[in-house]
C-alpha cells in the first residue's frame, strides 16, 4: 500500500499540515495570550490543524490543565482579531491543551516534559513531532535549549523544531554565542527564528509581486529606482517596556531585524526556486551586500532620536526619559534612521533609507520605492507635473499596494495630476487575511522556513548594525531631539536633503 494520503486535492485544499504537539515555554506570558493562542485557535477554526494537535504550556505559575484552558479561553476571546469565537470549536480545541508548571533551571522539568509528551503522543497521535516555542525572556533561550538537549526531549521518530523570538543577541558576538549554544541541542535547520514582519501578507506579496510578474522586475534596479524608503512608525511609546527598551533602542529593536529583513526581501535577487533555503540564500546574500559604514561615515548616514514630552490631542504625553523604569539621562534611541547602500550591480548608488521610531504621528509600516523622473521634462508647470512615480507597499495597518503615476487632467492644456492605482488586501480579497502568527506558526508546523531568519542572515545584519551602534555608543546625543507626535528629528530630514530627497509622510 502507498503511504501517501490518497485524498489530497491540492487545487482546492489548503496546505497539508502534519500532526504535532507544540510546547510553549512562557505559557502564562503576554505573547502566548495575545498572539499564539488566538492564532492557534483561529487555525483550528479554519480546520487547518490535525484533530490531535496538542499544546503543552509551561511556566512557573502553578495551574491545572483546566485552569490553563480557562485562562486561554479568556485570552482567545479577548484577543481574537476579526474573527468569531465558536464555543464548540473551542471546546474541541481545548481538549488538546495541557499545562505543566516548572522552573526552566530545574533539570527535572525536562525529564517530566519528555514523559508528558509521550503521554500526549499516545493519546492524541501526534506522531512524535514536537514544536518548541520559546515565548520567554531571551536570557532563557540557552538554558531551555540546553535542558531540552540534555534530557533528549522529543527525540523520537518524529521531528523537533524550536522557535525563538527576537532579539537574537544584542550584537554580533552575542548572536553567535546564542547560535552556538542552540546548536548544541538543535541543528540549524531545526531552529526557526521568527520575525513576524515576514509573516505579513504584503511582505510575502513582495515576492509574488516581484517574481510573479514580468513587468516590474526590469525596473527593479539602479537604472530606474531613484531611492527606497522603508518606514516603521509607531504612535505609542514604550508602554511599560521602558526598562527593556532602554537597553535595546530602535536600531537594535527594529532596524537590525524587521526592517533589514524587509529590505532584503525588496532588494534580493530572484531565487532559482521557491524552496526555503533558496529564498533565504538570496536574502542572506543581499544582507551581506549592504555596505558596512566606516566610523567616520556613521553620523553622516544615520540619525538617532529620542522623543521628548508633548501635548497631543488634549493629553500630556511623557517624554521617553519620563517613562517608568527609564533613567533620566538615558541615551536610548527611540528613533533611528539610516541610509544604506547595497554593493552589487543591481543597486550600486541607490540609497535605501530605513527609519523606525516611537511616538511618531501614526502607526504605519510601508515601503516606498521612488522611481527616477522621466529623462526629459516635456510637461512644464507646477511641481505636480513632475511628481515621481511611487510604488508603495503598505505592511500595516492596511496591507496593500499602490502605484502612483501621472495622468492628464481633463480639459484643455496639458496639466498633469498624480493618480493612484490601489490594491488592498482587506477589501480586494473578500475574506480576512491570516495574521502573521497564523502564517508563521503553520509554516513552522509544516516545516517551511522560507519566512524565518537563518543564522547567517542574523549575523549579516548585526555586522551592518554593529558598525553604527559602536559609534552611537561613543557619542553623547542631545536628547530629546524630537517631540512626541512628530515625524522625528530634523536631522533625519537633513540626511535625505543631502541627496536631494524628502521623507514621504505616510
Amino acid at each position: 500500500m502507498s503511504l501517501e494520503n490518497p485524498f489530497q486535492d491540492p487545487l482546492r485544499f489548503e496546505r497539508r499540515v502534519p500532526e504535532c504537539a507544540m510546547v510553549i515555554f512562557g505559557a502564562h506570558g503576554d505573547l502566548t495570550k495575545r498572539k499564539l493562542l488566538p492564532a492557534l485557535y483561529r487555525l483550528a477554526y479554519e480546520r487547518r490543524l490535525d484533530a490531535g494537535f496538542a499544546v503543552l504550556g509551561i511556566s512557573r505559575t502553578p495551574m491545572s490543565d483546566d485552569q490553563f484552558r480557562e485562562k486561554m479561553c479568556d485570552s482567545v476571546k479577548q484577543f481574537l482579531e476579526d474573527s468569531p469565537f465558536d464555543a464548540d470549536v473551542w471546546t474541541a480545541f481545548a481538549q488538546g491543551l495541557f499545562y505543566m508548571p516548572g522552573d526552566i533551571d530545574d533539570p527535572g522539568l525536562y525529564s517530566a516534559l519528555d514523559a508528558r509528551l509521550k503521554e500526549i503522543e499516545a493519546a492524541r497521535h501526534t506522531g512524535g513531532n514536537v514544536l518548541f516555542y520559546l515565548s520567554t525572556q531571551p536570557s532563557q533561550y540557552v538554558p531551555i535549549a540546553q535542558g531540552l538537549g540534555a534530557a533528549n526531549v522529543g527525540k523520537s521518530q518524529g521531528w523537533r523544531r524550536i522557535v525563538i523570538e527576537k532579539p537574537f543577541g544584542h550584537d554580533l558576538a552575542s548572536a553567535r554565542e546564542l547560535s552556538d549554544q542552540l546548536h548544541k541541542a538543535f541543528e540549524e535547520s531545526e531552529v526557526y527564528r521568527i520575525d513576524h514582519y515576514l509573516g505579513k501578507e504584503t511582505v510575502q506579496n513582495i515576492l509574488a509581486f516581484r517574481f510573479g510578474n514580468g513587468i516590474f522586475e526590469p525596473l527593479w534596479n539602479r537604472r530606474y529606482v531613484n531611492h527606497v524608503q522603508i518606514t516603521a512608525a509607531e504612535s505609542i511609546g514604550v508602554e511599560g517596556r521602558g526598562a527593556y527598551y532602554q537597553e535595546a533602542g530602535s536600531l537594535r529593536d527594529m532596524i537590525q531585524n524587521h526592517l533589514s529583513q524587509v529590505m532584503a526581501t525588496i532588494a534580493m535577487e530572484p531565487s532559482a526556486t521557491f524552496r526555503p533555503n533558496s529564498v533565504r540564500d538570496e536574502r542572506s546574500k543581499l544582507l551581506r551586500s549592504i555596505r558596512i559604514m566606516r566610523p567616520e561615515e556613521v553620523l553622516q548616514n544615520t540619525v538617532a532620536g529620542q522623543y521628548g514630552p508633548a501635548h497631543i490631542g488634549g493629553e500630556d504625553v511623557p517624554g521617553f526619559r519620563q517613562e517608568p523604569g527609564v533613567k533620566p539621562d538615558a541615551q536610548t534611541n527611540t528613533y533611528a534612521a539610516v541610509t544604506f547602500f547595497v554593493d552589487n550591480w543591481r543597486w550600486a548608488g541607490v540609497p535605501f533609507y530605513l527609519r523606525s521610531g516611537k511616538r511618531l504621528p501614526k502607526r504605519v509600516t510601508e515601503i516606498a520605492i521612488q522611481f527616477n523622473a522621466a529623462p526629459l521634462a516635456i510637461f512644464h508647470g507646477d511641481e505636480v507635473n513632475t511628481a515621481p512615480n511611487l510604488l508603495i507597499l503598505r505592511i500595516q495597518p492596511e496591507e496593500g499596494i499602490s502605484l502612483k503615476f501621472l495622468s492628464k487632467r481633463p480639459g484643455s492644456g496639458m496639466q498633469l495630476r498624480p493618480v493612484s492605482m490601489d490594491f488592498n488586501y482587506g477589501s480586494s480579497f473578500g475574506e480576512r487575511s491570516p495574521t502573521a502568527y497564523e502564517t508563521l506558526l503553520l509554516d513552522a508546523i509544516i516545516g517551511d522556513a522560507t519566512l524565518y531568519t537563518r543564522q547567517d542572515m542574523v549575523e549579516a545584519s548585526w555586522n551592518v548594525v554593529d558598525a553604527i551602534q559602536h559609534v552611537w555608543d561613543a557619542t553623547k546625543f542631545e536628547f530629546p531631539n524630537y517631540a512626541a507626535g512628530t515625524w522625528g528629528p530634523k536631522a533625519a530630514d537633513e540626511m535625505l536633503a543631502r541627496r536631494g530627497h524628502v521623507w514621504r509622510q505616510p
Partner: protein
C-alpha cells in the same frame, strides 16, 4: 424588448459609461477599471435578479470581470435587448475607485443561436471566459453549445437538474469536451478536506486499509448528486491505496439544504474508524478513534461556490474522475 442588439453599440455605451464614471470621480482620485475575466451568466428571466447582482458584486473585488448577464425567456420569437452599467466599490478611504462593467442582455430562447455572435465581440480580449449557467432548461437548449464554446469553463449546479442520476450522466457525457464545474461537487470541498486531513496523520493513514465500508447519509429520499460524488471520490481514494470498500447510502433526518449529513468510515466488523457529521448549525464533528474535534463549515452561498470555482481557471482532474465514478455509481 427590441429585436436585436449590436455589440458595437454596447461597446460604445460602455465607453460612455467610463466617461461618466470618470466625471463622478473627478478630483484627485479618478476611477479605475479592473478586469481579470469575462464572466457570462446565463439565467432564466424569472431568476432572482437582485440575488444574481449581489453575488456578482461580492465576486468583483476578488475576481474583477466584465460580467454579461443573459436572462432567457422561453419564447419562440427572436428577441434581444441589452443595457450596460457598472459595479463599483471603494477599497479604502471611502472613495469610489474601482469599477467593473456589467452588461445585461435579455434574450428569448429562439435568439440563443444569435447570442454567440454578440458575446464573442463583447468578451475582454486576452482574458478567460467563464460561463455560469444557472438554468438547466437553458443548458439543455439545442443551441447552448454555441454559447458554451466561447467559454474556457462552464459552471453548473446539477442539484437543480432534477434526478441526480440523469444529471450526472448528462455532465459525464460532456466533460471530455468541456471544462466543467458542478456546484454539487464544490459543496463537498470542506467535507473532503476534513476527511483528507484525518489521513494526514500517519497513525490514521496506517488505519486506512482497515476501512471496508463507507456510509453516506443524507436527508432526501434518494441519494443526492453530492452523495454520489462523495462516494465516488472516496472509492477512488481507497482504490489508489489498494483498499476495496463497499458503499452504503442511507436517508436520515437532518438539516434542510445540506446534501450530505454524515460520512462514516467503518471496519470489517462495523467498528467506526472515522466519521464526519453535521452536528448543529454550521458545525461538523470529526471523530477519529477517541478523538473528537469540531469545525465550522462556511455557508454554501452561490458567492462562496462561485468564488471557489473562479479560483480554478483550468480543468480539475479530481472532479473529472469523481464525476465519472459518480455517474457509474448512480447507474448501478
Amino acid at each position: 424588448m427590441g429585436s436585436t442588439i449590436a455589440p458595437d453599440r454596447i461597446l460604445h455605451e460602455m465607453a460612455d459609461l467610463w466617461v461618466s464614471l470618470g466625471k463622478q470621480g473627478e478630483g484627485e482620485t479618478g476611477v479605475l477599471r479592473a478586469c481579470s475575466m469575462t464572466l457570462v451568466v446565463a439565467a432564466e428571466e424569472s431568476d432572482d435578479e437582485q440575488a444574481i447582482g449581489e453575488t456578482l458584486a461580492a465576486l468583483m473585488p476578488e475576481h474583477p470581470s466584465r460580467a454579461i448577464v443573459i436572462r432567457f425567456r422561453a419564447e419562440d420569437r427572436r428577441a434581444l435587448s441589452a443595457r450596460v452599467f457598472a459595479q463599483c466599490w471603494m477599497p479604502f478611504g471611502h472613495r469610489q475607485q474601482i469599477c467593473c462593467e456589467q452588461i445585461e442582455v435579455t434574450a428569448s430562447d429562439a435568439s440563443l443561436p444569435d447570442l454567440a455572435a454578440v458575446v464573442l465581440p463583447l468578451k475582454v480580449p486576452d482574458l478567460p471566459v467563464v460561463l455560469w449557467c444557472r438554468s438547466p432548461r437553458v443548458f439543455r437548449l439545442a443551441a447552448f453549445p454555441l454559447l458554451s464554446a466561447i467559454a474556457q469553463k462552464v459552471v453548473l449546479d446539477s442539484n437543480a437538474f432534477g434526478a441526480p442520476a440523469a444529471a450526472l450522466q448528462e455532465l459525464s457525457a460532456l466533460v471530455a469536451a468541456e471544462s466543467l464545474a458542478d456546484f454539487s461537487w464544490t459543496r463537498l470541498t470542506r467535507w473532503r478536506e476534513l476527511i483528507a486531513q484525518i489521513f494526514e496523520n500517519k497513525a490514521q493513514l496506517a488505519n486506512l486499509p482497515r476501512v471496508s465500508e463507507i456510509a453516506i447519509t443524507y436527508s432526501s429520499p434518494t441519494p443526492t448528486a453530492s452523495a454520489y460524488y462523495m462516494a465516488a471520490w472516496l472509492v477512488d481514494g481507497f482504490q489508489k491505496a489498494g483498499v476495496a470498500v463497499r458503499v452504503n447510502f442511507a436517508s436520515t433526518p437532518g438539516p434542510a439544504g445540506r446534501q450530505i449529513n454524515r460520512i462514516d468510515l467503518r471496519g470489517q466488523n462495523g467498528e467506526s474508524i472515522a466519521s464526519v457529521g453535521l452536528v448543529e448549525g454550521q458545525a461538523a464533528e470529526i471523530r477519529v478513534g477517541e478523538l473528537t474535534s469540531r469545525a465550522v463549515l462556511p455557508p454554501l452561498t452561490d458567492y462562496a461556490l462561485m468564488r471557489e470555482e473562479l479560483s480554478i481557471p483550468g480543468r480539475d482532474p479530481v472532479f473529472e474522475r469523481a464525476l465519472a465514478g459518480a455517474a457509474r455509481l448512480a447507474l448501478s
